[in-house]
């Protein structure tokens, strides 16, 4: 009755890849950030699918941990973006390159 695990894993892999591509091709820091969230979500999907496959609740548990960490990360990340914007008037990652060697 239930769908095979592969379906979900493939979907997860595709979403993850879209996230990776987004991180690589976008210049807007906020969108890059969203893409990271997308990747985390793809991982979450895999977690839940495998959790169902194995019949263990741990997978869902880790999803909750991931969400907590993601929330923390977003808060910090957006704060950094806001303060970067205050100083440099831009959030274009191409222009934020003072760490150039």
């Amino acid at each position: 009755m239930s769908l095979p695990l592969e379906y979900y894993l493939v979907l997860s892999a595709l979403l993850f890849t879209i996230g990776v591509i987004g991180v690589l091709i976008r210049r807007n820091a906020i969108i890059i950030f969203m893409c990271i969230e997308l990747m985390l979500n793809a991982a979450n999907l895999a977690f839940v699918a495998i959790s169902r496959h194995l019949g263990q609740a741990e997978g869902q548990l880790f999803v909750i941990f991931v969400m907590a960490v993601a929330a923390a990360e977003v808060a910090i990340g957006l704060a950094i973006i806001v303060s970067v914007f205050k100083h440099r008037e831009t959030i274009n990652v191409d222009e934020i390159n003072s760490l150039k060697g």
Binding site: V23, I32, V93, S98, G101
Partner: protein, 643 residues
């Protein structure tokens, strides 16, 4: 006895230390609170100690040994396994009472003594930490825990000697104490290693059992004979004791340690820490008995006693006299434990803790009154202005001099009596030392408290008795200092104290001869010393520094300069090491080789870094791109080459 009791006992000073140490910023403005916290912490320990003591007193089987005392598996690796655990028996409880009892009184005394000091909270934090470390030392059920405490008290001693760190002499003294102690600790460590090599354990109970049954592991170092191994081990441990308890030849740090605050001298450098060596030997009594190395201990002890007593004769610094006296009395204790009269040695430790602690505190009281004057030649006639201080000091001096029925009389006499049975020469030297002790102590008293006042006029007007928070501990401490011998020691080898500790120590042979006779001899010698001091220093100050060359050659001049031991050490040990360090280690090895290698590596890395610098574009996505390439390659590898 419950483990919880012991844990509370142990943790309480630690909590005090943490509060005073961590919240010093907030406590700084509130001396009362800070001091109360410090004293309270020790008071809790004292209560616990009393409970533990009473428990053992009622039921001598209520000890905490072996697996009973187990708390926590600390280290476990291969054969090496050490627990954190407690060993509580009669000996421990006696030590606990001394540490927390004297410690508590000294904490209370310090509340007054340290009043207005810049580092008030820091002081109490250190003091609590010291009590904690000392408790670990006596409570541990293995040599490693003892060593932890051993090092802990060493650290606190260092911190407290150098407490007034803006004073050069204080920091120097602290460093000296620390370095000299390291030599001893090195011996202790080696002793521990030897014991572990022989018995594959550091637990007291395990080691003692194995040593007694002769079932040591095959010993590669010292052949098959357990006895040789034990001799080596016990002698090495004794080196540790020599360092910690300031015996010949490592005693030099103790007189200098008087740079610390006086209560510290009383607690650490008279009552507790310096007796750790004695405790250690008493704890290892089984090993010393089997190894037969007690003779060495006794001889070192008696020589130290004599040597220090001689030096004390010509000192003019009130605290230094007491310091040398401490060294000398510690010598007695070593004589006691060395000749196998462990109970007598520990008994002397107890009485000494009380009367010497008392005397240091009174000396502190004198200093307090005299605006930190230490030179007894600038005192005199203080009896009238400081009646309580005088009275309590007199009690202490009488006790140490062996005046009949006071505590020192009982304990010292026991040791001497036992010594007679072991070696007549030791006995005679000990007796001579007893005479000297009485003499220099009363020289101190007469010069300080009697005769005409030589106090400098501007100081004279301020001389006053200390506040109650200081003299009350003195009075309280004077009572046991005077009477504890009477309570515990009447009856020589059948005394209450001997019965109390009989389970702990191996049975000693009863010394021959009549107890009363020995007592009489000791009393006569002590009183003779006092009388001799009376005739010489009744109303005259010690001579000023010798000035002309002719005077410089006699023996007293040698004594006054402490036999030049510090100078000899300086010339023959310290300077060569310093030179070697400077030229060989620093100039050649450090600067030449190590720095060369380090700088070379750094230069190399800089060149390589210059090459890689170009990769650092500062654009985040470039980094991510390389990461993704890495992931893709890695996955490709996984897909094609794994399985």
């Amino acid at each position: 006895m419950s483990k919880e009791l012991i844990i509370i006992l142990l943790i309480s000073p630690l909590v005090g230390f943490l509060i005073n140490g961590l919240f010093s910023k907030w406590l700084k403005g509130n001396e009362k609170l800070s001091g109360t916290i410090g004293a309270l912490a020790v008071f809790i320990s004292l209560i616990c100690s009393i409970i533990a003591f009473v428990t053992i007193n009622i039921d001598s089987n209520a000890t905490l040994e072996g697996d009973d005392g187990f708390v926590y598996k600390w280290i476990a690796g291969g054969k090496f396994s050490v627990d954190i655990g407690f060993h509580v028996d009669a000996l421990t409880t006696v030590m606990l009472l001394v540490i927390t009892g004297v410690g508590f009184l000294i904490h209370v005394y310090s509340i007054g003594y340290m009043h207005g000091d810049e580092g008030y909270t820091r002081y109490f934090a250190y003091l609590n930490l010291f009590v904690f470390a000392m408790l670990i030392l006596v409570l541990g059920n293995n040599y490693l825990m003892m060593f932890v405490g051993w090092e802990g008290v060493g650290l606190c001693s260092y911190l407290l000697i150098g407490f007034w760190y803006e004073k050069q002499s204080a920091t120097d003294a602290g460093k000296k104490a620390f370095i000299v102690n390291r030599i001893g600790d090195f011996g202790f460590l080696l002793g521990m290693f030897t014991l572990f090599a022989a018995f594959e354990s550091l637990d007291f109970v395990t080691i003692f059992d194995k040593a007694e049954t002769g079932t040591s592991a095959i010993n590669v170092v010292f052949g098959e004979t357990t006895k040789v191994t034990l001799m080596v081990a016990t002698l090495l441990l004794f080196v540790g004791a020599v360092g910690k308890s300031a015996q010949l030849p490592l005693y030099v740090w103790l007189p200098d340690a008087m740079e610390g605050p006086t209560p510290v001298s009383a607690l650490i450098h008279a009552a507790t820490m310096v007796t750790a060596g004695v405790y250690m030997i008493a704890r290892s009594a089984v090993l010393y008995n089997l190894a037969g190395t007690g003779v060495v201990v006794a001889w070192i002890g008696v020589l130290t006693a004599l040597f220090a007593a001689i030096i004390a004769l010509k000192q003019n610094d009130i605290k230094r006299i007491l310091a040398y006296s401490t060294v000398s009395q510690l010598g007695y204790m070593f004589v006691g434990v060395g000749i196998g009269a462990y109970a007598s040695g520990i008994f002397h430790l107890v009485t000494h803790a009380f009367f010497k602690g008392l005397m240091f505190l009174t000396a502190g009281s004198v200093m307090h009154a005299m605006a930190n004057e230490l030179d007894i030649r600038k005192m005199g006639g203080l009896r009238k202005k400081l009646p309580i201080t005088h009275a309590t000091f007199l009690v202490g001096a009488l006790a140490i001099a062996g005046a009949p029925l006071l505590s020192g009389f009982w304990s010292k006499d026991e040791i001497l009596h036992s010594a007679w049975g072991s070696s007549k020469i030791i006995y005679i030297i000990g007796l001579a030392t007893a005479f000297l002790t009485a003499f220099y102590m009363f020289r101190l008293i007469f010069v300080t408290f009697y005769g005409k006042s030589r106090v400098e006029p501007e100081v004279d007007s301020h001389v006053h008795e200390s506040p109650a928070v200081m003299w009350l501990p003195l009075v309280i401490l004077a009572v046991p200092a005077a009477l504890i011998g009477l309570l515990l020691g009447v009856g020589g080898h059948d005394s209450w104290f001997h019965h109390f500790t009989e389970d702990v120590f191996p049975k000693a042979d009863k010394a021959p001869g009549s107890v009363l006779l020995f007592m009489a001899i000791s009393s006569i010698v002590g009183i003779a010393g006092i009388a001799f001091a009376w005739t010489r220093y009744k109303d005259r100050a010690p001579a000023a520094e010798p000035t002309n060359a002719l005077q410089k050659k006699d023996f007293s001049w040698l004594v006054a300069n402490k036999f030049y031991v510090d100078e000899i050490y300086n010339t023959f040990i310290v300077q060569p090491i310093k030179n070697a360090s400077h030229f060989l280690l620093w100039k050649l090895f450090d600067v030449g080789i190590i720095d060369g290698i380090v700088n070379g590596v750094a230069a190399l890395i800089r060149v390589i870094g210059g090459l890689f610098r170009r990769l650092q574009t500062g654009v985040v996505q470039a980094y991510i791109l390389s990461m993704v390439i890495g992931i893709v390659l890695f996955l490709a590898y996984y897909l094609f080459f794994v399985n």
